[in-house]
């Protein structure tokens, strides 16, 4: 289940890269949106019924628990809306097929990274996926290639990069505080939560808050309001986890 | 007894040699043969034989100050240990007297410069004063850190750092040497703080303060500035030389380090120009930054060893 939701966009990106056609792009996006929605609802139902919590393929790196599934559902719903809106958004612009393909690939990668962040069970892996979202959405911002878009893209990339660098400092401080527990899996951190030195935990929380907060509060996105909401949800989830 | 005699001979004769070596190094880098290393001594004798011209706009301060400055520098020289032995006047807390006696001498040279009524000298005096202002707190911070580390309140603590500080000892010594070297450049008015060879009035700092002096007064001012550099060089040498050395070897090491410092100053003078005025302040402030680093390293080191 979780493997499908993660591997599907990668395969779709490869296919789209080699076959460049507008219809295929729209189709791929809508297909992925439907797959995403279906899988998240299925995971939600399974979670309630059977308590399945990890995948066979990726091992313990991705897991679904009661916090994850909520955000995954929200992401699915919003992405479904975006995918359907996308078709008519592109009808009015005449960009070439190639540009449209790159645009769709970027959206697919963006949602892939978002999903990866939500589903990941390791703090370091979440951080890597958030870097990937910066990359993907920077291309989306610069899509129109105007002067305004360039300025927005520069500001976005720079501020996001500083944000994730500060969040990385927070992660390092957390690992200083955990001392002998040598892993950043959320499960291990929950289980050993009493052994973490409180000073380092608080310090790392502040750094991660500031870091992901700068990345999140950016309203300059030319992609509009939707991406902002998505990011808000994503990062709010990370706070909840850390301020356990 | 022998040590005290050697100490006094060193203090009285080496300033000429120091300035002579600096000039010889500069000549070497410029491809000239240069004057002999004893030339400052011959200049001193020549100036002593001349008569003095004293401006009529000055008062007794102008006549008094060169002797007072020179006396303060000699007194400060008595406080500093040379040749790995105690200083001639050594007591606890002597570094405070050292700093303020030097400041007294500098104060008198400043007001003598302002006494002449010439605006150039006043300008040089104000610049010189601002440099010294930046140097003094840094010097106190460095001395306080070193004294806190080694527990000895005299200047002997400079040699005793390694015994009491463990792994940070070498680091603190290197940083202190660098900071005291900057102080030597400031107090001795050398490049990059002040160019002793410039003749343009807008760029002179120390030279312009002594523009009106002549004859024996000028002789003692030059002697005094050389002696100031020797004193600060012996502080640096005290930091570098280890304590267990026998007397003979410590004499050789001391004189060797003083020569090397003179050669370094000469090389710096040949390679760099004097910095722009705003950049000079940043350069001098580097000494304060390094002194803060020394202070924090001291505190870390004392924490580690349970101070």
């Amino acid at each position: 289940m979780i493997e499908v939701i993660l591997i599907f966009p990668l395969i779709a990106c490869l296919i789209l890269f080699f076959i460049k056609s507008k219809k295929l792009n729209d189709f791929a996006l809508i297909a992925y949106a439907i797959v995403h929605l279906v899988i998240s609802i299925a995971l939600y139902l399974k979670k309630i019924n059977l308590e399945i919590s990890s995948t066979k393929l990726f091992g313990a790196y991705f897991s679904v628990d009661s916090l994850n599934i909520l955000f995954l559902l929200i992401l699915s719903v919003i992405f479904a809306g975006v995918a359907f809106y996308n078709k008519s958004y592109f009808k009015n612009t005449d960009r070439s097929d190639k540009a449209h393909t790159y645009y769709s690939i970027a959206i697919l990668l963006f949602i892939f990274s978002m999903t990866g962040t939500i589903l990941s069970a390791n703090l370091a892996l979440s951080w890597v996926f958030i870097e990937a979202t910066t990359l993907a959405s920077a291309y989306l911002i610069y899509f129109n290639k105007t002067k305004h878009a360039l300025e927005a893209a520069w500001k976005y990339v720079f501020i996001c990069s500083i944000g994730i660098a500060l969040a990385f400092v927070g992660i390092i401080l957390l690992s200083i505080g955990t001392g002998s527990i040598n892993s950043l899996f959320f499960n291990d951190l929950y289980i050993n939560a009493g052994k973490i030195v409180p000073f380092w935990l608080k310090l790392s929380f502040v750094f991660i808050l500031v870091g992901f907060g700068t990345k999140m509060g950016l309203a300059l996105s030319m992609r509009g309001f939707l991406m902002l909401i998505l990011k808000l949800l994503l990062l709010f989830q990370l706070y909840c986890r850390l301020h356990y | 007894m022998l040590e005290i005699l050697l100490n006094i001979i060193f203090l009285l004769t080496f300033p000429f040699l120091f300035i002579g070596i600096i000039n010889k190094t500069k000549a070497f880098w410029a491809g000239r043969k240069g004057a002999s290393v004893f030339q400052p001594f011959y200049d001193f004798i020549k100036l002593l034989k001349k008569g003095e011209v004293i401006s009529t706009t000055t008062s007794f301060v102008f006549a008094l100050s060169p002797s007072l400055t020179f006396a303060s520098v000699v007194f400060a020289g008595l406080l500093v240990p040379v040749f790995n032995h105690r200083a001639i006047l050594s007591f606890e807390g002597s570094f405070i007297l050292f700093a303020y006696i030097l400041a007294l001498g500098k104060f008198f040279s400043l007001i003598a410069a302002m006494d002449t009524g010439s605006s150039f000298e006043g300008m040089g005096a104000s610049r010189e004063a601002s440099f010294s202002t930046l140097v003094e707190p840094a010097f106190f911070i460095i001395m306080a850190s070193i004294i806190a580390l080694s527990g000895n309140y005299t200047f002997q603590s400079l040699s005793l750092i390694l015994q009491s500080s463990g792994s940070f000892g070498y680091l603190i010594i290197i940083l202190s040497v660098f900071a005291l070297f900057i102080m030597m450049l400031v107090e001795g008015c050398r490049v990059p703080v002040d160019d002793p060879n410039t003749h343009l009035e807008l760029t002179m700092i120390h030279e312009v303060m002594v523009l009106d002096n002549s004859g024996p007064d000028l002789a003692f001012i030059l002697y005094g500035s050389g002696m100031k550099m020797i004193i600060l060089a012996s502080l640096i040498a005290n930091l570098i030389i280890p304590t267990g050395l026998s007397f003979f070897y410590s004499i050789i090491a001391f004189i060797g380090i003083i020569f090397i410092l003179a050669i370094i100053i000469g090389t710096l003078e040949s390679s760099f120009a004097r910095l722009r005025m705003t950049h000079v302040f940043e350069f001098i402030f580097t000494m304060s930054s390094i002194s803060l680093i020394i202070l924090s390293l001291t505190m870390i080191s004392m924490h580690k060893h349970g101070g």
């Binding site: 360039l150 927005a152 893209a153 001392g179 | -």
Partner: protein, 216 residues
């Protein structure tokens, strides 16, 4: 020896704060890369061998050679050599930077809870490097200096991650990933575009989009 290198790293930060010549900044960046490479080698009980090789190649190649080379090429193409008069004059910049360095040392020598399992000097210099880099980013005016400040912050983060490298070597590799990400993305891509679109690399030009005004 490692202590000396770490303090030297701190001193390069002071030099960066005091100067406005961009060439000097770039030289200090490669010097910092060299220092990090030496620290990696001399403190050899930190990681296992293969990881060490990978990290040292990355440090030497990317931090010391490639990124300064990129920056120098951008410098020469745009003929920007000096930062304009920064918002805070250089002297006060130096004062503030030394106070931050001193504060970093002070924090690392605190004898509080939890400071036992971190090497004191690493932590102090890293935190002060990060703070000084953020300070430089906010007070300077040219985009290139902002990027240089960001790379300095990454060097500081790398130093911080070396202090936990023994327990969790994955973190150092993540730091390296961040480095390469920035090198490829910001330097290679956006600076070229900004060159062709704007005349000067001044952030005063980037003032058309402000907060809370949606320009779409």
């Amino acid at each position: 020896m490692v202590n000396m290198l770490i303090v030297l790293f701190g001193l390069t930060m002071l030099y960066m704060a005091a100067t406005s010549r961009i060439k000097a900044h770039i030289k200090m960046l490669s010097f910092q890369g060299l220092i990090l490479f030496l620290i990696l080698f001399l403190d050899e009980d930190k990681t296992n061998f293969i990881n060490l090789i990978f990290l040292s190649i990355e440090t030497l190649l990317v931090k010391t050679i490639l990124i300064p080379l990129f920056l120098t090429r951008i410098l020469n193409k745009n003929e920007v050599f000096r930062d304009n008069e920064p918002h805070i004059p250089n002297f006060y910049s130096l004062v503030i930077a030394s106070i931050m360095l001193f504060a970093g040392f002070m924090i690392s020598s605190l004898h509080g809870q939890g400071f036992e399992n971190v090497t004191a000097l690493y932590f102090g210099v890293s935190i002060s490097t990060i703070l000084i880099s953020l300070f430089l980013i906010t007070t300077r005016k040219k985009i290139l200096t902002h990027v240089i400040g960001y790379i300095m912050m990454e060097n500081g983060i790398f130093l911080l991650s070396l202090s936990v490298a023994k327990e969790m070597p994955i973190i150092v590799s993540m730091g390296v990933l961040l480095d390469i990400f920035i090198a490829v993305f910001i330097l290679g891509f956006l600076i070229n575009k900004i060159n062709t679109a704007f005349d000067e690399l001044n952030i005063c030009e980037l003032c058309n989009l402000k907060d809370c005004d949606c320009n779409d």
